[in-house]
């Protein structure tokens, strides 16, 4: 059996990034992700890699752009208000096809909000978030182990598609401490002939997201569209739990999923046949796997830490035939298993 290490979620992301070969980290302090930045300030220099504490999240995301454009695996981490500032840079990176990883340890909002965990940035992460036509691959971990594993996957997918990838845990997961099995460091990296590394023995490389003439820009955006179609086809990830006999399926991600797991056990003890569907990729959303489940049952309960953002994708996936209910919290407050159980009882009676 492999050895396990007790680790906080934010630290697991940092270590996952280092294992994945992240060569440059740029960040600005914001709660509840500070441990990640602090850990990187120690670990990156130890590894002989780049760490810069920046003057703002704007600067951080643009440093990520510079580092990634020059061929390095690069990352920033932030929490919700900082993620808003970074939308500009994310849009530029999507437009210029620059692979990078952005971690948003979500907190309560809108505005300055609070430092509790929340999932109110779901739309912002999965629907583009910045200006223009694009999406970023969005990964939602639900355990400290997954904070590490999905951080590593994020770098792989970013390089594979030359697209920004967001890791979207909530503040509760960032602070959670759980045992983690350490992974092997990544040793093979893709070539990046497009990167700006100095024009030695090749024509110059240019990285931009601009054309003077719309006639020239349109074909580039068409390529982005084709890429997103490919991502939707190839990269859907999800987990199904106790779906076989389920007469009500909970849909949840992140720490809301953890509360839902407890609620499911309580409900099954009461005789309710509950299953859980957990999207791991929020973009691409697992539309087909979820719609296939509507053959088994027509009753769904969405559990999320926001007004009702995930539920929109669930409804779009299921169409009009299904009954889709919501049990939620927001504003930085966790949802308890009891609250979810109450919703289950209400629906099942």
């Amino acid at each position: 059996m492999s050895e396990k290490t007790l680790m906080a979620g934010n630290i697991a992301i940092a270590e996952g990034a280092i294992l994945a070969g992240c060569q440059a980290y740029f960040g600005y302090p914001i709660t509840p992700q500070n441990e990640l930045l602090e850990h990187m300030s120690k670990r990156m220099p130890e590894e002989g890699r780049v760490f810069v504490q920046t003057e703002s999240e704007l600067s951080a995301i643009n440093m990520v752009y510079g580092a990634a454009a020059s061929g390095c695996r690069a990352m920033t981490s932030t929490s919700s208000p900082g993620f808003s500032l970074q939308q500009e840079g994310i849009s530029y990176m999507a437009g210029a096809e620059i692979p990078a990883v952005v971690v948003n340890v979500m907190r309560g909002g809108p505005g300055l909000g609070d430092i509790g965990g929340a999932q109110g940035d779901y739309f912002q992460a999965t629907k583009g978030g910045g200006h223009g036509d694009y999406n970023i691959i969005t990964l939602a971990p639900a355990s400290v182990q997954e904070m590490m594993d999905l951080a590593m996957l994020a770098f792989e997918l970013a390089d594979k598609y030359r697209n920004p990838v967001a890791l979207l845990p909530d503040g509760f997961l960032g602070q959670a401490v759980e045992p983690v099995t350490m992974r092997q460091p990544v040793t093979e990296f893709p070539d990046k002939p497009w990167a700006i590394t100095g024009a030695v023995g090749r024509p110059k490389n240019i990285i931009n997201s601009f054309a003077m003439d719309p006639v020239d820009y349109r074909p580039r955006v068409e390529l982005l569209r084709q890429k997103l179609i490919k991502i939707k086809r190839n990269e859907v990830r999800y987990e199904g739990i106790a779906l076989d006999d389920a007469s009500l399926i909970i849909v949840a991600y992140g720490s809301a999923f953890r509360s839902a797991m407890t609620a499911m056990k309580m409900a099954r003890e009461e005789g309710f046949k509950i299953g859980i569907f957990r999207p791991i990729t929020l973009f691409p959303f697992p539309v087909k796997p979820l719609s296939d489940l509507s053959q088994k049952t027509r009753r769904f309960l969405v559990v999320e830490l926001s007004f009702g953002q995930l539920i929109e994708d669930v409804r779009l996936s299921l169409g009009t035939g299904a009954q889709v209910e919501l049990a939620n919290q927001f504003g930085g407050v966790p949802i308890s298993a009891d609250e979810i159980l109450e919703a289950i009882e209400r629906i099942m009676k």
Partner: protein, 266 residues
Amino acid sequence: MAQINNKELETLLGLRPESMEEHPFHFCPGCGHGLVFRLVAEVIDELKIKERAICVASIGCSVNSYEYFNFDGLESAHGRAPAVATAIKRCHPHLVPFTYQGDGDLAAIGTAEIVHACTRGENITTIFVNNAIYGMTGGQMAPTTLTGMYSTSTPAGRKPSLAGYPIRVCEMLSTLEGTAYVARVAVHSPASVRKAKQAIKLAFRTQLAGLGMSLVEVLSPCPTNWRVEPIKAMDWLAENMLAHYPLGEYKVIEAVAALQKEVSHA
């Protein structure tokens, strides 16, 4: 007789630096950008760093910078070029990234990025073109627009009571400990163009010697948006800009001064 193509001929005759693309400028007649691009390209040729140079372009009339240079380049978001260049230099210390920014980009939307690149003493170079106006968007007030000066967004002239004062970038940035070389030059006369080139060259040599942040502000004409003829724009610059933006070296740390002596001996 051996055939010789235009590009080779131009290089041979010193008409076109090797670091300059054979690409038409999109600038208006009499614009100063063409001069500044050429000076940068000449300096990069002379320092033999074409294979290490990275042009970090900005937003404004400088937006297409990388099209005119014959080496790697990228576009950064408005004002963020110093952050982008910082990362490139930190990740690849052997590369020679420089930002090419206008006054709106550097002195308005990008003030945080330039101030902090300077205060961190990033080993990068910034070419800052100050023409006291937003050129690309059609002549609105820039942070460097002179008091009383007409722009399309100060139709009665810039009034400090409404729109504040024109910002002096070199004076401000030279107070920061991380800057190694800060100079203001102009390109309104043959003599000033020669001096501008010396400053740009010293700025790049500062980076090559690893001495810290180097910045050259270049006062440059914008006849279209100043609404004067190209030749008169050169006089307009001398008559109106030099009083508020005095030319000269604002920061030369000792190690850079030593480099400077080598230049004058050369």
